[in-house]
């Protein structure tokens, strides 16, 4: 145990090169994660195709205007399902995906390589951003082509869209990462993660307008980020006419920003304190 630099590596001739950077490896992991995601049909259907199918379905069933606001029901669903789609790409995809990685040995293997741990998370972030971005693009395309959704023309609307998207996807991804430690195995992950997400969609105004919900349920939904994310997206895509549909007759963008930012910070704290690189079986 004397000179480890030279003593233990007699057969090495090449000078030791520098460690690959965390950013480079993060990008490489992002590419691999995304490739694996789209090859795994279950995951694609579960997190990616679900909101798209629902939009086509609801859009076809419910037609017509809402109380003379100039907003159609299908437009309302487009905005709501964009929120649900972003949340799914972050929360559901990561919650189930990381639980799977913990169960199938991915995390253990990676922890045994010189890959910096941050590269794993950078890869997951890229994966989530790609899925969320594609999802929003497809939902918007369906909304525009089939349900007369008008894309906003003002820059300010797109600025709103950008910050709601970034804050929303970040909060959802952090919550999903934290939630991934809850299921005991990959098999139970789909149920443990999806159940609360489905309930949240129903009480957060994705499918059912708040005007038809009891107050206590609205209060519960207001704690979680999905309600605020959807509200932000409605502000972008339904415009001033739609504001009349909100409970407070306003999109409350300030509060949207505040609640989502609080979830980003809370989610980060949860991740840092609870993330496990080992499965429960590994002790």
């Amino acid at each position: 145990m004397t000179d480890t630099a030279t003593g233990t590596a007699p057969r090495r001739t090449a000078a030791t090169r520098a460690m690959p950077s965390a950013l480079k490896l993060g990008l490489s992991r992002g590419a691999v994660e995304t490739k694996m995601f789209f090859r795994e049909k279950d995951a694609v259907v579960f997190t990616f195709a679900f909101p798209i199918v629902l939009l086509m379905l609801f859009g076809s069933i419910f037609a017509g205007d809402l109380e003379g606001t100039g907003v159609t029901v299908s437009q309302l669903y487009t905005a709501g399902l964009i929120g649900a789609g972003v949340m799914g790409a972050g929360f559901q995809n990561l919650g189930i995906g990381i639980a799977g990685d913990r169960d199938d040995g991915t995390l253990k293997r990676l922890a045994g390589t010189p890959m910096p741990r941050s590269a794993y998370f950078i890869g997951k972030i890229i994966n989530v951003l790609v899925i969320a971005f594609l999802e929003v693009a497809i939902l918007l395309a369906i909304g525009v082509v089939m349900y007369d959704l008008d894309l906003p023309s003002e820059v300010s609307s797109w600025v709103t869209f950008a910050w709601v998207f970034v804050l929303g996807v970040t909060a959802a991804a952090l919550l999903g990462t934290a939630a991934s430690s809850l299921p005991r195995s990959a098999k139970s992950a789909a149920a443990v993660i999806s159940m609360p997400f489905v309930v949240l969609q129903f009480i957060s105004g994705v499918f059912i307008p708040f005007t038809q919900m009891p107050e206590w349920l609205i209060n519960i939904a207001s704690v979680f980020p999905l309600k605020w994310m959807c509200q932000g997206f409605r502000a972008v895509f339904l415009g001033d006419g739609g504001a009349a549909l909100e409970l407070t007759k306003s999109y409350e963008l300030g509060r949207v920003a505040l609640v989502l930012a609080a979830w980003v910070i809370g989610g980060l704290v949860l991740c840092l304190t609870t993330f496990r690189w080992k499965g429960r079986r590994d002790g």
């Binding site: 480890t4 590596a9 090495r12 691999v32 199938d104 040995g105 922890a111 045994g112 590994d282």
Partner: protein
């Protein structure tokens, strides 16, 4: 001589269970070292502490001169770990997987050469999910040796293999050892330890109960030989004399003659019986 691994007084406890209770170990550079022991003997815990996966309770450990409780990327790049059971990266092809993992190391071996070395060239474009169990283990080995490690950990590498696959696997390990890598191997198969290892340690009840070359482990070389023939058998320190005498008695060929030393398995079973409480 430099030791690849030095362990002094290692202990580890899980709740009420003392998994490792005072292990000392020196494994020198370039050695193939096998760790044997029944399930729950502390074998995996010991190896996982050496690999930097687990924290120890007490004792001193140096792996390639570094405390594995504080693993650095540089240290990780010098060791290779072949995991016992993993089903990850199932949707990538063998080549995609190996190429991706090569990016983690500062001086990786050529991915295609590594794939060839583990005998997977023909399956290189197959998804890992489609591989047989034996082929899957070969991917694990490929990923373990990809960084050109000085030290390789193999955890029960041939469990579930058919006999032919095991022989081929042994050749692969011998090739790695020939390269000068230190290899630490845990196994349930005594013939595997005998075929591959320069030295073996038997762990039972959280302690090392015997350590040495496979041929001499537990007094195996000096143990009495058993000479058997058609009409009897005898335990003796001088089997040659016995055979010569028998040969005179039968005036030439001894019918049904066999001379046997205790097998590694006999010794092993005796060793792990003793300390069980």
């Amino acid at each position: 001589m430099t030791n690849a691994i030095e362990v002094r007084g290692l202990t580890k406890r899980y709740g009420d269970v003392q998994a490792v209770s005072g292990i000392d170990l020196d494994i020198s550079q370039g050695e193939v070292f096998a760790i044997l022991g029944p399930n729950g003997a502390g074998k995996s815990t010991t190896v996982e502490i050496l690999e930097g996966y687990r924290k120890r309770d007490s004792g001193e450990v140096a792996v390639l001169g570094v405390d594995p409780a504080r693993p650095t990327r540089e240290w990780r790049s010098r060791i290779g770990i072949v995991l016992q059971s993993a089903n990850d990266a199932a949707e990538l092809s063998v080549r995609e997987t190996v190429r991706h993992f090569a990016g983690y190391y500062p001086n990786p071996r050529d991915p295609d050469e590594v794939i060839a070395a583990v005998g997977l060239t023909e399956s290189a474009n197959k998804r890992v999910r489609q591989l047989s169990g034996g082929q899957r283990r070969r991917v694990d080995v490929a990923l373990g040796v990809l960084g050109d490690p000085e030290l390789i950990f193999l955890d029960e590498p041939t469990t579930g293999f058919d006999p032919e696959a095991r022989r081929q696997f042994w050749e692969l390990i011998e090739g790695l050892a020939h390269n000068g890598s230190t290899i630490v191997l845990t196994t349930h198969y005594l013939d595997e330890a005998e075929a591959l290892a320069d030295r073996v340690a038997v762990i039972a009840g959280g302690r090392i109960v015997a350590e040495g070359e496979p041929a001499t482990l537990g007094g195996r070389a000096t143990a009495k030989a058993v000479v058997t023939w058609q009409d009897g058998s005898v335990e003796t320190d001088t089997p040659t004399e016995t055979v010569l005498e028998l040969s005179r008695r039968y005036e030439g060929e001894v019918p049904g003659l066999a001379v046997a030393r205790p097998t590694l398995e006999d010794i092993y079973l005796k060793l792990i019986e003793a300390p069980r409480d």
